[in-house]
């Protein structure tokens, strides 16, 4: 019964979404608000019924039969509900309806809310229709199997259980930012008030997307056994593009909110972010590429998605083209000003997104051209990977970071470059020294030097800006610093730490594979690894080969145990690496295959990943900063509805006017 109930609830959600869009776009008022709330409730309940089917292992539901198994632990049974195409589409629909419900609760009544709920209702209708008519998760089997087919064992991991929900909060959150933009365009009201009310939603979506991407990277690092955390895989790039564009968006929204400038560019970014999120879904779900993410390799589904994407994207761009000429230009500003710095931020981020897009889709387009015989197979065979993205993206990120401390410290409208540069001299000096130290320690690579230079420059420069804002007057003032400043500073410092970690890790990681027989010893960088023996271990739904390796470093020894797990049901195996944390980085040991020519020997992969925690920690701080900014805005709004009258901390003068 439970699956039929879920099916019914999904249809009710579809009906509510249709009503929400029709009424939201016409009469507005209370009715669409209630329908949006109902749509959210119906979708959550529908998801819940699916989760119950997974927990109860109801194998008469086709999706459960395909994707679960009696041997699976409970938490992965729950996560199994969205670890497949149909379930993840239901999750997508639920989050989309959930944003509408959240808006119905948190947004003030008015035309902005009405039309935004209307547009969001349209999108929700489309996705629910796709779910129910092209990929229903509630289909029953006439002849249920005795046991299920299991789940891709790679996905049996806590980070990856949470990865899709976080990612979808981000991806789908962009749909509501888009709805707000469309609403503003329909109402002809893209102004400071619009930006002020849109920004919290953009901040929430962007911060969630950051968390989702970071969880994916952490999972790749721990679970795939290569020690890499970013592979420039098309799937990863699909989430990175909307991240870059929405990072640009949350900055241009600041200019629109504070100064009324860049309005049409801000709206364009809102539209573009959502189109890129849809494109990402299409790339991942259409089966145009193979990866762990490609659950659906059915080309008709891909065509339906592509069709929907073209309609949504085309309509959005048409709406934009129709209304953009009516948008007013903002007040004048000098190139050297906070506005100017934020324009540069948007320039670098937009170019970065463009190059990721081109680098990702070019090989796919060429492959398609080659397969259809339009160009020769040789011409179609090309790979675009790490070297391309690193060489082209690194300069953009370096420039982004170079201007970051200026952007934080420069006043609006006009800044004096001379005093600013003089004031930031200490940060520059520290950065240069740090870069030289890094080069001396890690080898004379140009990227290493640049990465550490701009990273340290940002961390110190942002720190100086915080100190400036605190001003003289003791510790009490530190606590009274507005939360918005903390949000900005923490996110920017996180960015600096991330760049330092990523460049140091990429430039100086070492890895080596040793074929070892039991008893043999491998040595790497002052560490010795003695392969003692191999044992067989039974897990809940897998059997593992576990290596006991005696590690010696600085006179201390300990046993580490990397594993390979073989999942009988899915007939695949995964790697469980053993990681020894040190202050400077991770010692990372993975058990590989048996050596072909010498069956008593096993390939043991040993790697050292310096500053890897800075990579994940930096990404975490970026997300924390984003959420803090959001909390600050929500708190301030409830404390003081009129922004002009609120009590604020008196600010020390900007450095431009500080006598140096």
């Amino acid at each position: 019964m439970i699956a039929e109930l879920g099916h019914l609830l999904a249809f009710l959600a579809l009906a509510a979404a249709i009503g929400q869009s029709a009424l939201g776009l016409t009469t507005g008022g209370e009715a669409p608000r209630r329908l949006a709330f109902a749509c959210g409730i119906f979708s959550v309940l529908a998801m819940l019924t699916l989760i119950i089917s997974f927990v109860q292992l109801d194998f008469s539901v086709a999706l459960v039969a395909e994707n679960s198994h009696t041997l699976k632990p409970l938490i992965y049974r729950i996560a199994g509900a969205w670890g497949n195409h149909e379930g993840s589409m239901l999750l997508w629909c639920m989050v989309m309806a959930g944003y509408g419900a959240a808006a119905s609760v948190f947004m003030r009544a008015g035309p902005l809310r009405d039309k935004a709920l209307g547009v969001q209702g349209l999108l929700t209708t489309g996705f629910f229709a796709y779910l129910l008519f092209a990929s229903s998760p509630f289909t029953r089997l006439i002849d249920p199997p005795f046991d299920g087919g299991g789940m891709n064992p790679l996905l049996q991991d806590p980070a990856v259980a949470l990865h899709p929900p976080a990612l979808y909060l981000g991806y789908v959150g962009m749909s509501f930012v888009f709805s707000l933009a469309a609403s503003g365009l329909i109402n002809g009201q893209i102004d400071q008030e619009w930006a002020r009310r849109t920004r919290p939603w953009a901040l929430f979506a962007w911060s969630s997307l950051t968390v989702g991407i970071a969880l994916g990277a952490i999972w790749a690092y721990y679970e795939l056994g290569w020690g890499g955390w970013w592979f420039w895989d098309p799937v990863e790039n699909a989430s990175f593009m909307p991240w870059l564009v929405s990072a640009a968006l949350i900055h241009s929204l600041i200019v629109t909110e504070k100064r009324g400038g860049m309005a049409s560019w801000t709206v364009f970014l809102s539209v573009l972010t959502f189109i890129l999120a849809l494109l990402g879904t299409f790339l991942v779900r259409s089966g145009v590429m193979t990866s762990v993410h490609a659950f659906a390799t059915d080309p008709t589904r891909g065509l339906v998605l592509l069709f929907g994407l073209s309609i949504a994207g085309g309509a959005a761009l048409a709406l934009f083209a129709w209304r953009a000429p009516t948008l007013k230009a903002g007040p004048e500003f000098d190139p050297v000003s906070r506005e100017g710095a934020l324009v540069l931020n948007n320039l670098f981020l937009a170019v970065a997104a463009a190059l990721v897009l081109v680098g990702t889709v070019t090989p796919m387009i060429l492959q398609w051209l080659g397969e259809s015989g339009i160009i020769s197979r040789e011409a179609a065979s090309i790979s675009i990977g790490e070297p391309y993205f690193q060489l082209t993206l690194a300069p953009m990120i370096a420039m982004l970071l170079l201007f970051m401390p200026f952007a934080q410290a420069a006043p609006w409208r006009k800044a004096e470059l001379g005093p600013l540069m003089k004031w930031l001299m200490p940060a520059a000096a520290v950065a240069v020294v740090a870069a030289i130290v890094a080069l001396a320690m890690g080898g004379w690579g140009i990227w290493l030097g640049f990465g550490v230079l701009v990273g340290v420059w940002v961390v110190v420069g942002v720190g100086m800006d915080v100190v400036r804002r605190v001003g003289p007057g003791g510790f009490g003032r530190v606590l009274r610093l507005p939360l918005t400043v903390w949000g900005m500073a923490i996110a920017h410092i996180g960015m600096g730490l991330f760049v330092i970690g990523a460049t140091v890790e990429t430039a100086t990681r070492t890895e080596q594979t040793f074929p070892l027989r039991p008893g043999e010893v491998a040595e790497m960088a002052g560490w010795t690894f003695q392969f003692q023996n191999l044992e067989e271990v039974e897990g809940p739904n897998y059997s593992a080969l576990r290596a006991n390796i005696l590690v010696t470093h600085d006179g201390r020894t300990e046993v580490i145990q990397p594993e390979t797990r073989t999942f009988q049901v899915a007939r695949t195996s995964t790697t469980e690496v053993a990681i020894r944390k040190t202050l400077g980085g991770d010692v990372y040991v993975a058990l590989g295959d048996q050596v072909r020519e010498d069956p008593s020997a096993w390939r043991i992969r040993i790697a050292y990943h310096p500053l890897i925690d800075w990579v994940f920690g930096g990404a975490g701080l970026i997300a924390v900063g984003g959420f803090l900014s959001l909390v600050a805005r929500v708190r301030r709004r409830s404390a003081a509805p009129a922004p002009e009258t609120e009590a604020t901390v008196e600010s020390p003068p900007a450095p431009a006017s500080v006598p140096a």
Binding site: V351, Y388, T484, T513, G519, L534, E538
Partner: protein, 142 residues
């Protein structure tokens, strides 16, 4: 249930077999590892040879080290692999023909957009603007 698959062999520690030994010169080894990261393991899914334990990757790593030890340049090693497996094997698109566009466009776009913004927003105007006082103390994040 824990069953020993291979009995613990009590024997004196022996040095590992040299099949995957690094090159003695750290600078050469660094170059070799760099190449391993940008050549594709052709039997894997989207993995460079540095990351795979597949036999093709093992052989490729061995070959890269041999070539580097013989004094081959990075370009010669890349060409060796491309001549065998096609351009597909290299994650680094070549710098010739239409791929010049691929490599060049991000920088062209940056320059073009930068010039466009500069001309449109700031070109030919003389203004007398004063800094806006930072009234709220919360700056850009406000």
């Amino acid at each position: 249930m824990i069953a020993p698959l291979i009995a613990l062999i009590l024997q004196a520690a022996q040095p590992a077999a040299p099949a995957e030994a690094p090159l003695p010169d750290p600078a050469l080894e660094m170059r070799a590892q760099g190449l391993m990261r940008e050549l594709r393991c052709t039997v894997c899914e989207n993995e460079p040879v540095s990351q795979s334990t597949a036999d093709m990757a093992v052989d490729a790593r061995k070959r890269i080290r041999e070539e580097i030890a013989k004094g081959a340049s990075d370009t010669q090693v890349r060409e060796f692999f491309v001549s065998r497996f096609g351009q597909y094997v290299s994650f680094r698109p070549p710098l010739e023909g239409w791929t010049l566009l691929l490599w060049g466009f991000p920088f062209a776009l940056l320059a073009g957009a930068g010039i466009f913004i500069g001309m449109r927003a700031f070109g030919g105007r003389k203004r007398d603007l004063a800094p806006l006082p930072d009234d709220r103390g919360d700056g850009a994040a406000g």
